[in-house]
């Protein structure tokens, strides 16, 4: 399908929003206003953007430790995200979750999660629900190349294949798990060989090219809605920051690798393309950017102005009524 002008601008806008959101947050993190484990999605924005563009509110997603991008793309409120990351009462999880555990069930964002691979079984459940409801809704699960090493990956592929679950596997293959390269940690030269073994349709795309991701996801989601079973979309990409912001371990990845990937910045690349196509102008971009910066700053201010939870609030939400 050809993308409309509006669609293209929307994609760019989402990517830029994720980028600006994280940049703002990092300033605060390095200034000491935010603590805990914060994993950056910068460099990988095209994936969440291109995939989630096809999902409705009723479609459910499960994310991983690097989850800000998925939240934003699914339509989460940046104010409540930021407040959560700051540990404030007004955050999505009332300050109980932090960066690694943001969820918004009301928009089908079933949560970021800190255990590698653990979103996969949960997502099979979300897709069973979609299947049972029979309304053509789907589930999507985002996970890294590292998650493919855990047995949970295998079990989820098997179940999805067997039960023809409407589940979109989105592997964000950034080539590394912390400081271990995929070559050192995964025996199948291409990850997609594994879903292929389970007869799961798959495709590998440049995860830094938002239109490629968009187009591949479009076909995949259409298949899923028709009930044709799961789809596996591998998106090759790269993480720009350390594994998590305050990681004490040095980043051992080759410097030139990072430099090369930075040249393939998904946001910049799309900006250049849309400028060339005349869909955007420098002025328009500046306006978009300003608007995003305002929204991000608003979120930041909202978080800063929000109260911390009371100590005793820790005693709430252990159980649901």
């Amino acid at each position: 399908m050809n993308l409309s002008k509006k669609q293209k601008i929307d994609l760019f806008n989402t990517m830029l929003t994720i980028r600006r959101f994280e940049e703002r947050l990092f300033d605060e993190f390095y200034a000491g206003s935010i603590t805990g484990f914060v994993h950056s999605y910068i460099g990988e924005e095209a994936i969440a953007t291109g995939v989630i563009a096809h999902l409705k509110k009723e479609d459910r997603i499960v994310s991983h430790h690097r989850g800000h991008g998925h939240c934003i793309a699914k339509g989460a409120d940046m104010k409540r995200m930021m407040a959560e990351i700051y540990g404030r009462k007004t955050g999505y999880c009332k300050g109980k979750g932090g960066s690694m555990h943001i969820a918004d069930f009301s928009i089908g964002m079933l949560g970021a999660d800190g255990i590698v691979g653990a979103g996969l079984p949960i997502a099979t459940g979300a897709s069973i629900a979609a299947q049972l409801e029979g309304k053509g809704n789907v589930a999507a699960v985002f996970f890294g190349d590292g998650a493919c090493q855990e047995g949970e990956f295998h079990e989820a592929l098997n179940l999805a294949s067997l039960w023809k679950l409407p589940l979109l596997f989105v592997c964000e293959n950034n080539g590394w798990g912390v400081n271990t390269s995929i070559g050192e940690s995964f025996g199948a030269k291409e990850i997609t060989r594994v879903p292929d073994a389970f007869h799961i349709a798959h495709k590998t795309v440049d995860g830094n090219d938002v239109e490629r991701v968009y187009q591949a996801a479009e076909k995949a989601v259409a298949r899923l809605r028709k009930g044709s079973g799961p789809f596996f979309l591998e998106c090759k990409t790269y993480r720009w920051h350390k594994h998590f912001l305050s990681d004490a371990l040095p980043d051992l990845r080759p410097k030139n690798e990072l430099e090369a990937w930075k040249k393939k910045c998904p946001v910049k690349a799309y900006e250049t393309k849309l400028l060339k196509q005349g869909i955007l102008t420098p002025k328009k971009i500046a306006a978009m950017n300003a608007k995003i910066m305002d929204a991000v700053e608003e979120a930041n201010q909202y978080a800063l102005a929000s109260p911390f939870p009371k100590p005793q609030d820790a005693l709430q939400d252990i159980y649901s009524k």
């Binding site: 459910r60 499960v62 955050g91 999505y92 999880c93 009332k94 300050g95 109980k96 979750g97 555990h101 969820a103 918004d104 069930f105 009301s106 079933l110 949560g111 999660d113 255990i115 653990a118 996969l120 079984p121 949960i122 997502a123 099979t124 459940g125 979300a126 897709s127 069973i128 629900a129 979609a130 049972l132 589930a139 047995g151 949970e152 079990e155 989820a156 098997n158 179940l159 067997l162 039960w163 709430q316 939400d317 252990i318 159980y319 649901s320 009524k321």
Partner: protein, 318 residues
């Protein structure tokens, strides 16, 4: 009143609730034929042998508005699934700030005494008790299992029911009429005045047998079955201990860091109960060894009536 088996009573609880609520799903590696027949293959699913997956899938289903019963079978298979159980099921309500409900019933069998050897004979409920966020059941009779599972199937949280392997075939009275047993309400299975005996799982029956036997000798035991471990009805135990001044806790699970340790700890930490204790409390637990296969050793490793009697005599000062 009609008498049915423990397993039958559990099945009835599920059948009744599955009839009431179509958004319920059953998952297990084996097929429960009665359920499949009545509710069909969409809702009654046979899973691959991948416990961690279906324990996790239950969470995804719950977060999507479905209630799942996931039968893990033996508790030893549950170890394969502890990532989803401990890191997720137990914590997901809390860490997401209570924005969603996770109604799930996990079932698994515990216990030894059937020459299952080390792997297949285990009662790991205290491990689950140490990770907040789960509710934990320990039904010991057909009546209790039905009433507790019924309540579990209306609860909006992950509930884990530990059912002793050897209780499945036992028979007891179960009303035809619908009933529910609230969580956090211990059952005083026998009233008594001399010694408080808190017994868990199958040991409730051994304790009751001992109580009967000792009654003949003029010793009166109060046998308490907590029925739910989380929440735990501490007050009933404390009240009883304040009355009797003596406490014996009987549990088949390994002694160290078992539920029995917790029962003694919360009782002795209670100032009023502590003040009334006439003698040191005693545990009668499974030994701190893996369960051996061979019957003489297995019998030695597990609590029995003789050991309970010895403990009772001990707290009575004999």
């Amino acid at each position: 009143m009609r008498e049915i088996t423990y397993d039958q009573a559990a099945l009835e609880a599920i059948q009744e609730e599955f009839r009431r609520d179509p958004r319920t799903v059953h998952m297990a590696t084996d097929l429960p034929p009665e359920l499949r027949q009545e509710f069909g293959s969409d809702r009654i699913r046979v899973t691959p042998i991948a416990e961690n997956n279906f324990v996790g899938a239950s969470i995804g289903l719950a977060g999507s508005g479905f209630r799942t019963v996931a039968n893990i079978r033996m508790a030893t298979f549950g170890f394969v699934a502890l990532d989803q159980m401990m890191n997720h099921a137990a914590k997901i309500t809390y860490m997401f700030g209570g924005q969603a409900k996770f109604p799930i019933l996990y079932r698994m069998t515990v216990g030894g005494g059937f020459q299952g050897a080390a792997e297949h004979s285990i009662s790991p409920y205290s491990m689950y008790m140490n990770v907040p966020g789960l509710k934990i059941l320990l039904p010991t009779t057909p009546y209790d299992v039905k009433g507790l599972l019924k309540t579990a199937l209306r609860d909006n949280n992950p509930v884990v029911s530990f059912e002793h392997f050897l209780l499945g075939g036992t028979i007891g009275e179960v009303p035809e009429k619908e009933y529910f047993i609230p969580f956090g309400k211990a059952d005083i299975k026998r009233k008594g005045t001399d010694v408080t005996v808190v017994a868990l799982a199958k040991m409730v029956h051994e304790a009751l047998a001992v109580a009967e036997e000792l009654a003949g000798k003029g010793i009166s035991l109060e046998v308490i079955d907590p029925r739910t471990l989380i929440p735990f009805d501490k007050q009933t135990v404390i009240r009883s201990v304040k009355k009797t001044g003596r406490l014996v806790v009987v549990d088949e699970a390994c002694q160290t860091c078992g539920a029995a340790a917790e029962i003694i700890a919360f009782t002795t930490s209670d100032k009023s109960a502590f003040g009334k204790l006439k003698s040191a409390p005693v545990r009668v637990c499974g030994m701190d060894i893996p369960i051996p296969f061979s019957p003489p050793m297995e019998k030695f490793a597990l609590p029995d009536k003789k050991k309970i009697i010895r403990a009772v005599m001990n707290v009575l000062g004999d």
